[in-house]
């Protein structure tokens, strides 16, 4: 029996010839990322709960402060200081104020074929480069940090064949929301979502990230693309090389296969408060909004900012709407500046904020109040995710968010 990409990566990390779905293996972890969501807790456990604390390989660790960046209270400042000091003492790669952790990892570290743990659910993003990234809690992270290893259950794989090309005004963000609406919030639980076909290969790495990033919203362990020439080019442009260029074997076993014609995808939104309550934008048109957000590890990349700028150029957002824009990293920010996008946003009445988790995290900036409605390119629309528990979050593409900010209500961009 052949192997899927996921099975090959896990077999390599377990140093065995063959792995199959359902097996449990001890693996070596190639890279471990932790952010300010939980790193302070991991440090407390490391310092106070172990008999003989020691880090297996500090060169594999990356700490990133991005969730409450810059600090919004003395409490967060204290947590940040703990992380900063620990990173310095133990010579761990450390970033703060540089962008959202997954964007930084993609720009600086991820290599095709690696098995990566992140103490953040959206670590599944790294599959855009053909790496197996998966989210873990801080206890799992601690174990991996001190032993260099962990156990994994080899996942079943769902294969998504993507063909054709998007029509005008439709984006990969609409596709992944459509897929999650079809298979449900637990539709890929414990599994890999693998994307293949001409439609997959045509996507930029940035757009692939919009798909793999949300795999966890369908319950998946990871989302992954076969690393192709675009992945190799991306790595080389960022000064890196693949670890392995694994492809799924022709006789690999898939639990289920799905077929999507990209030409048939419509602009959609996920309605509050469930990620799989996905409907055509038309069916919620005229829902009044108070705030709009473009950013996050899902859709805060240069591709998204270009889409938004095209719509907002020479236009103004509605008087009663706040539009916040947070580029996913400082390098995205810099590129947007060079391309003149920031001027367009400011002229349109948007607030451009620093690169961080921002409104999507619902804690450090752009929090919404009771009864307010947000439309967002963020990752989640859970009840209270962006602020007050009686507020509402709609998720859509950068185009839908930009057009809605102008109209003051939810509308289709095209």
């Amino acid at each position: 029996m052949g192997m899927t990409i996921s099975e090959k990566i896990i077999a390599a990390a377990a140093n065995i010839d063959h792995a199959k779905a359902g097996d449990i293996h001890m693996v070596s972890i190639d890279r471990m990322m932790s952010n300010d969501g939980t790193t302070h807790l991991t440090i407390d456990m490391y310092n106070s709960m172990l008999k003989n604390p020691a880090i297996a390989d500090k060169s594999k660790l990356v700490f990133i402060i991005d969730h409450n960046m810059p600090a919004d209270s003395p409490k967060t400042a204290a947590a940040h200081k703990k992380i900063r000091d620990f990173a310095k003492t133990h010579e761990i790669a450390f970033y703060e104020g540089k962008g959202v952790c997954h964007q930084i990892m993609m720009e600086e570290y991820v290599r095709s074929g690696e098995l990566i743990f992140g103490a953040d659910s959206h670590t599944c993003t790294y599959g855009a480069l053909g790496a197996f990234g998966t989210g873990v809690g801080n206890t799992d992270f601690l174990y991996a940090m001190v032993t260099g290893r962990s156990w994994v259950l080899v996942p079943e794989t769902l294969l998504f064949h993507l063909s054709g090309s998007f029509r005008e005004g439709v984006y990969p963000r609409d596709l992944i929301l459509t897929i999650i609406g079809d298979i449900g919030a637990g539709g890929a639980s414990y599994k890999t979502m693998e994307f293949t076909g001409s439609g997959a290969h045509a996507m930029s790495i940035g757009h692939r990230m919009a798909l793999t990033n949300m795999a966890v919203e369908a319950g998946a362990k990871t989302g992954i693309f076969e690393p192709d020439e675009k992945a190799v080019e991306y790595l080389s442009a960022h000064g890196r090389q693949a670890k392995h260029l694994f492809k799924s074997d022709k006789n690999a076993r898939y639990e289920k296969e799905y077929f999507y014609d990209l030409g048939k995808i419509e602009p959609v939104v996920a309605r509050p408060d469930n990620i799989d309550d996905v409907v055509n934008v038309e069916s919620v048109k005229d829902v009044k909004i108070d705030q709009a957000f473009i950013g996050s590890c899902n859709s805060g990349r240069i591709e998204d900012l270009r889409i938004a700028a095209e719509i907002l150029k020479g236009q103004r957002i509605a008087d009663h709407v706040r539009l916040l824009i947070s580029p996913a990293s400082n390098s995205v920010y810099q590129k947007a500046l060079e391309e003149g996008l920031m001027g367009i946003f400011i002229d349109a009445g948007a607030m451009v904020v620093n690169s961080n988790c921002s409104v999507c995290w619902g804690s450090c900036q752009g929090v919404i109040g009771e009864g307010e409605v947000l439309i967002s390119t963020g990752t989640r629309n859970f009840k209270g995710r962006a602020g007050h528990k009686e507020s509402k979050v709609y998720l859509g593409s950068a185009a839908t968010v930009a057009a809605s900010a102008m109209a003051g209500k939810i509308v289709r961009a095209v």
């Binding site: 709960m49 008999k51 873990v136 206890t139 362990k221 209270g384």
Partner: protein, 160 residues
């Protein structure tokens, strides 16, 4: 291992922002956070839960963020175990790593009523209103972690 307790029912897709909303994560101690557990959905629930009670939920319990405060807070409320049709995978690992017992069962969540009592004999069966329902054992590597009281305790047992 036998767990017996009073049932509290929650629905499908109980996410980590419902288990503990982001705004309370900055609190220093889990003990302070615990009264806000499930507050977006049922603000009264955390006060009503008594040690040994059992949460029964539908599909995809614990979906969303990797925040480990979610299982920690359920442990802090001294919930005996969570029974659900399915669990989100990060939550599943986090719960086991914190010594919180989870039981995946496709039938039970549709059969029970809130306030009734239920018993689970781990690896053998669940008993509800004098009927018994089969219960598959957990993989041995996970049972080892639960029995140690969590992954950190299991690490200490190995002198880490």
């Amino acid at each position: 291992m036998v767990i017996k307790g009073k049932i509290w029912i929650l629905g499908d897709n109980i996410d980590t922002d419902i288990i503990i909303p982001t705004e309370y994560l900055a609190m220093k101690r889990i003990e302070e956070m615990k009264k806000y557990a499930f507050s977006p959905l049922r603000p009264e629930l955390a006060e009503l839960i008594a040690p040994g009670d059992i949460i029964v939920a539908g599909r995809n319990f614990g979906c969303g963020s990797s925040r480990e405060q979610a299982p920690e807070i359920i442990k802090e409320l001294k919930i005996g175990c969570v029974i659900a049709k399915s669990f989100a995978r990060i939550f599943y690992r986090n719960a086991i790593n914190n010594g919180l017992l989870l039981i995946e069962h496709s039938l039970i969540p549709d059969l029970i009523s809130e306030g009734e009592y239920i018993a689970a004999v781990i690896g053998e069966y669940i008993e509800y209103k004098e009927a018994k329902y089969d219960l598959a054992p957990l993989p041995p590597n996970l049972m080892e972690i639960i029995e140690a009281g969590g992954l950190v305790a299991a690490m200490k047992n190995k002198n880490i």
